[in-house]
């Protein structure tokens, strides 16, 4: 297993700083005519979208319009689903994601993902963070301990769990579990973070804490977040994209800055959805 240089580098300095802020639009992810089929059934079709570096892009739309499927294309989790077929093109930092020869393991290291339901491994809190790091070539005990502390601090979990790092992660509350999962993703210093409704399975209080955490990450990471919560999208996103089901398949209806989408939608569907939810 080759050690990941990009991981050992920044961590030796301060891990969670020196991240690009969302200023001038500078695309990092380019998606071109992307379609996904489960067997013969299309999940979404013909999505073309570019994601700007250091910005937070919210994907909104009703259930079943392919938002989650869209996210899983970006880190090739679709490989794990039997009978799933992807066409089109995705480029992340000049890397052709759908090319047959790429190192999927490396790709997934560079793209973190947070799931709707918190899914820590049935290990201790420490092992949950340590185990992926070791897998990616970080073996130094002190360095690992340091990364664990910084990432747990970054998600605001350190003070809550520092005395019981050896206890099972599954004993944590839902909100804590989700923050642990975020910490687990951050520990690998991803370039892009994919979040699939990270707050929807949590109680309002935990949801608020996690949302604050995500807002705190804004500007330091490129984040794609799927959400049903329009108010939340409006609060925290720089850009927004609306998905809708048309002719039995999900489609991208409109994309733009969050301000434009929520205040001045061009497409009547967007207008209806945004206002309907608002009203």
């Amino acid at each position: 297993m080759t050690p990941v240089e990009s991981l050992t580098g920044p961590h030796s300095r301060h891990p969670l700083e020196e991240r690009p802020a969302c200023r001038a639009p500078q695309p990092i992810v380019e998606i071109d005519r992307l379609s996904l089929y489960y067997g013969d059934k299309p999940a979404f079709q013909d999505v073309t979208l570019s994601i700007n570096k250091g910005c937070m892009t919210a994907l909104v739309g009703p259930s079943g319009c392919g938002k989650t499927s869209f996210l899983t294309c970006l880190n090739r989790l679709t490989d794990l689903i039997a009978g799933c077929r992807v066409s089109g093109q995705i480029t992340i930092n000049a890397l052709d994601v759908l090319a047959p020869g790429i190192n999927v393991i490396q790709l997934r290291r560079r793209i973190g993902m947070i799931f709707q339901k918190p899914n820590p491994f049935p290990l201790t809190i420490r092992r949950n963070l340590e185990f992926p790091l070791r897998e990616h070539g970080i073996r130094d005990r002190e360095q690992i301990t340091q990364i664990i502390e910084t990432t747990l601090r970054a998600v605001g979990l350190w003070d809550e769990v520092k005395d019981r790092l050896g206890s099972p992660a599954l004993a944590l509350s839902g909100g804590q579990q989700q923050r642990l999962c975020i910490a687990r993703a951050l520990a690998l210093l991803p370039e892009v973070l994919l979040m699939d409704e990270p707050c929807s399975a949590l109680d309002p209080l935990s949801s608020g804490v996690v949302e604050d955490l995500i807002v705190g990450l804004r500007g330091r990471y490129t984040i794609l977040i799927v959400t049903h919560n329009l108010a939340q999208a409006r609060r925290i996103a720089d850009y927004a994209a609306l998905f809708w089901v048309q002719n039995g398949a999900g489609r991208l209806i409109e994309a733009g800055t969050a301000k434009q989408i929520f205040e001045n939608p061009r497409d009547p569907l967007t207008a209806a959805y945004v206002s309907g939810m608002r009203g």
Binding site: D79, I105, R108, R109, N119, P122, T124, L188
Partner: protein, 287 residues
Amino acid sequence: MAETLSRPQNLREWLAFVLVWGAAGLVTAVFCWLLGDIVWHGIGHVSWTFLTAPPENAGRQGGIGPILASTSLILGVCLAVSLPIGIGTAVLLAEFTSDQSLFGRITRRSLDILAGVPSIVFGLFGNAFFCKMLGLGFSILSGGLTLACMVLPVLIRSTEEGFRAVPASYRLSAAALGLSRTTTLIHLLLPAAVPGLLVGLVLGVGRAIAETAALIFTSGYVDRMPESLLDSGRALSIHIFDLSMNVSGGDTNAYASALILVIMLLAINGTVSWLATYGLHRKIMTV
């Protein structure tokens, strides 16, 4: 679990309650009868000498020392061969082969067929293949290998079920973190599949240790203390069979041997479940 569910309220619930307790009671009663029979007739003859001494007068007198040694060696060979092959195949079937693929389907069907092959056919096959074709002769090795073929399907099937029971979210989140399949397998899936594996192990060991027909033709009948894996060695179950069916006056020692076999099995199963509770859980940390 039982506490969270309410007490029977209507007729159907009461019926089910009675049925479940009745079934459990019936099973327990029959088995206690059977085990009680063995204990009652066997306990009087079990002693330290019985466990260590060699059999005399065709097994009517003397003990079962060499037979215990042979049985353990046969079981050891069987597990040493069947565990890696069994777990490997189960992993392949559950994790690396899609259910529609030809390879997976053929392998799975072959194993289902293997599961139903009568033990005497295994015996004749083992005799022709291991003893004669591979030149191993009547030996503990031949017997162990034949048994390994026999317990494979049970082992693979329940281990596979164990893997299938692991939530898909483990695999997804591991993949999303960029973990390799090997790592995911060793650190996450394998520990989580342990319960299934243990069922397979208990069933497999049970089948192996109880086997008679397959061993008569492979590991043989010699009741001398084995000196190597290439020596012929009589397994406990063969000893019991011979004493009860072929040697007049062997019944009492047959009962005592059956009792020892049951105790042996109890010890093995106990160790397995102790390992499951205390040995592995320290590492898995499920709540």
